[in-house]
Symmetry: D3
Subunit: 245 residues, 6 copies
């Protein structure tokens, strides 16, 4: 990091915020995780329901889907409640599609049986990175929901394939930095969300030049940061779940 660039949070360029994963945060959901990336707090509830969507019926497989929402005052100024406006906005739909695709990569749907697991990611407090926190926490909730299915003997084999985590990276004042909080995110030139497997491979890469454009070498520098963070996030997920590395 260039000596003259200081992050608003004083973090090092490759430093994650404090990550916390609290399981069993609410008591009804089969998996319920409060994920915190610093001041970003998302409640991820995984719900198991028998049956699959119509277009999957009879195909002998399960389904994983996600929904995303922000409480109206999760942000600096109040934004209108989507239920009151009568529809989910484009940003919401885009994010929940991303979460759903990412979490499906964690599971072998063929081994899930005809169950649907819906992972609701509701943002209690937003400070940048809500979609990457949702994926990272949602995957832990998903594991708990699968364990529930196994404990209740509703499925026989283990459908879990691999842990999935996500992090944002960006170019802030010309420097690639990891895990942007809102003050950085709102000023970053480029914003990249990276979803990774526990093996370090890529599931989703979504990069946007908010201002100007970015080069191949900048992209690579950002991906390097994400790759390193992936290992750390995996550690947090395993620790929360009581899995030895």
């Amino acid at each position: 990091m260039r000596p003259d660039v200081v992050r608003p949070s004083n973090r090092a360029a490759d430093q994650l915020r404090d990550i916390r994963l609290t399981r069993d945060y609410t008591r009804h959901a089969e998996g319920s995780v409060l994920v915190e990336f610093g001041d970003t707090k998302v409640l991820c509830n995984a719900s198991v329901e028998a049956g699959v969507p119509r277009w999957l019926r009879g195909k002998n497989q399960g389904w994983i889907t996600a929904e995303y929402g922000m409480l109206p005052r999760a942000t600096h100024s109040r934004s209108g409640r989507e239920a009151a406006r009568g529809q989910q906005g484009g940003r919401t739909l885009e994010i929940q599609r991303l979460i759903g695709r990412s979490l499906r990569a964690a599971v072998n749907l063929k081994k899930l049986g005809e169950f649907t697991i819906t992972v609701d990611c509701d943002v209690i407090q937003a400070d940048g990175g809500t979609r990457t926190a949702s994926i990272t926490g949602g995957c832990v909730a998903l594991v708990d929901a699968i364990r529930y299915l196994q404990r209740e003997k509703k499925i026989k084999s283990d459908p879990f394939k691999q842990m999935v985590s996500a992090v944002s990276v960006g170019i802030y004042k010309g420097v690639p930095v990891l895990d942007l909080d809102y003050p950085e995110d709102s000023k970053a030139d480029t914003d990249l969300n990276v979803v990774m497997t526990e093996g370090g491979e890529l599931i989703e890469v979504q990069g946007t030049a908010e201002a100007g454009a970015f080069s191949r070498s900048e992209l690579n520098a950002m991906l390097d940061l994400a790759e390193k963070a992936g290992s750390e996030l995996l550690e947090h997920q395993r620790e929360a779940l009581g899995i030895r590395g």
Copy 2:
């Protein structure tokens, strides 16, 4: 209480659940209170915005309104997200209208100036009594929002009139009981929601016979329980706000 009737929670007939009011639960809202009535947890965020709805413009007064929502898995089984279904259900609208009317009774709108305070009540976990918890916690969040307006010198006089709280009462197995949790609520013959001022007067009374009907004397027995609970709830509100009784 008849000796043969035991509440599922083993509480006495006139016993509230554990009440907790946690202020500053999130950091963006001008007032942010997590209210807990036992396992019922509602996040009440009060947001201050300059201006009033169109039909109040130029009338030299402010406005208080409320919105209510349930996270999809706040309940035993997942209920569809209202934003995804494209509209708020009748129960939601009925509850948020009740909360709004109740909180307006706490404030002299003429002294509020042309500000709107919106109190968002989002149910994190439901175990009966979400509307009464919302009013009780929402009033504390409202006080914090008014204090913010005063601290920021946006209003000169104090628009706060009186504290408002609410509690449910019902007839469970023939016995009037206070502050129903879900196991009681789902079996109660009659359900009464009572909204009260700090002086013990009534703001709203909504009684419904789920099965059969109820008599005037049963109504009075329920109101007696509510009256007593009103004083206790007021104590919790004052203590949370650091007000001496």
Copy 3:
């Protein structure tokens, strides 16, 4: 009544408006009643349909539901047509839920067979008390619909349990008065809607302090007025249906 308070209609404090119940007002519905509480006119059409909502199927019972609407110019100034605005407002949903719950108290659903009776209450002209008129007239239409089912031998036993009626009461200029018309309703401090069985027990009690609050003794004075009116409304219902008291 205090000698200095005169009701806009010159009625005594405990005096109902002229009540009229006209059966067979339209010819297609199984029950069709025009109910008039003075200048408030509501057409209550009860429609019988085979089958029950999905969540009741196979439970060997019937269902009663209600829908409520106002013609756009039922009121002093035209209000937008809900069908054109694309949704029913909160007030409409709140009222139709109240009517539905009240009318279900009149019927033993287990004896209704797998039929749904929908009671449409459409306000032709509004002058206060449309929801209480709807319940009072809707119950008569419901009886006609049940008689139709019996006459057509679609059900064997009689599912009718008890007549249900409703009336509003309020505190107008400090005095409890019965059956508020619009000029009173718009100035009342407190408004109470009471739904009663033919035995004088309570089905629904919904009281709202529009300004200030109300005491237990005021509540009792209002309930006394409602109780007395219940007997009169029952007489009107019985007379319309040709039932001897």
Copy 4:
């Protein structure tokens, strides 16, 4: 008429049903007319509002528009409430556009001033011909609304141009017949709605072959019937309004 064809109502081929126009049917609207074409009953309320739609502002003219609705049980079997379904159907929109265009032909919008008159046509009971009854009765309500504007001295000159009426004609069992009721309408090969000026000229002609097709000579026979009926309808309108022919 061929001797072997008998209309279900026993009417002659060129015979209208009983036409009734009752003014001041409700008390709030500036014009309120219940129009009856036999068993078809439509309440036509004309509402005057200051102002015009955005696209007409500043053009120094007024606007006439219409809305149409059916009470859910105006018909043989109950049809879903459009407000509850969340939108007006295609048939509804088609009919209200027709009514609006027809009524605009009655008025010189330039002389109306910046007022909007909305004519709500709500079908209380349907037995065929609801759109033609709506136009015929709506025009009388419109005249009353214009008279209100003149009486209140809100406009100076008289914007009324000409009376407008409408009637349906059809080919029933091969014979052209006037003013179809539902039993005829549901079996007619061809259905023609004709909107006419008091001078006998045409405003709208909408003919549909429900089965097969129709010839130019059949069209002319139907138009002959409509022309004759136009004079009769005009008489009814004038009589209701107290105008000497």
Copy 5:
């Protein structure tokens, strides 16, 4: 035509614009026709799907329906996308209902089998007469869809009854003219859309007086023009389909 009236396009009063019917315009639809009436260009795609709407099931017949849309910039100024506004406008619904009824007159639904053919008419460029172009081109696409069903041996008998075409006629500066383009249409006193069978009989006649009214003799003059155009349009349809007259 009166010698002093010149059409903006310099066409004779009874002259159609250049008509072009291009089959197989896109490659997925069973019938795909680009129809051009001068500068009006509509893509008509006929899609075959197994099954019929719920209300036709088990009745041993097929169904033909149509949908209509305008690309947002098909017109002089951009109009909002209906999908973004959340509903189809009244004009759209009115037109697609007209197209559907017209095309059903071309087919014996009893011989179609339980198939639904949906004809999508999407306006690429508008210059007046989009609905009549849609019907004329849609009928050719429909024939191709039926031929597909026969070629694939999904139906045995031939459900095609007759070709259907449509044209607009109007009174422009007092003169009846054929096939109005936008400059004429926007100034015409009267606008008549005529849908005809190949035998010259009438399927739909929709005439509207945009200003003033029209007489029976004007109606006849317009129908004469339409009748003549019907033969020409039929020639174009047959030629496109390779049918000898």
Copy 6:
């Protein structure tokens, strides 16, 4: 390319489909381009309107936005019309947000003046890559719209910054291939959409692992293909616009 992998279209791994850009495809829009990537055909209409969205007013800048739609039968089987379903789907919103962000990178909004340019991308025929075709063609339409503003002297300086193009890349049977058509797209393991400036820098990178995951080296191989294609697409855009390279 591995010798054993043959693309369905027989193209080389780094070979684009036939690219065609037809300007002035329709006559009303300020910029109107039909873009073809092989059998994928998208009509891109750029519309200029005075004014900017509310949240940009008074900021002395312009705005570029995009809307995307598919004709119902652009695809193998008919998909429901979004206007009829009452809302745009998540995929549609995601794509039009991508197109809008990408095209804004082509323009200096500060120099655009208070004009909004809306680029409507309507898919006439789909065969994979509709979003990348939309961006590539939309940018040409955007240039024409800007030229219109300059020609009409509505803006003084040139707001155009750089040409923007887009292409999809994927891993098909283990081999990185360029510009996927539908048969490849539906079977690809990984799908990457790349939006580039004329200088070869990146605007958007959106990669998704449909099955499994992808490595950093696979990502780089795909980006190499996209980079090369960017130059070719730029040539097509310049040629269409008559710009010498």
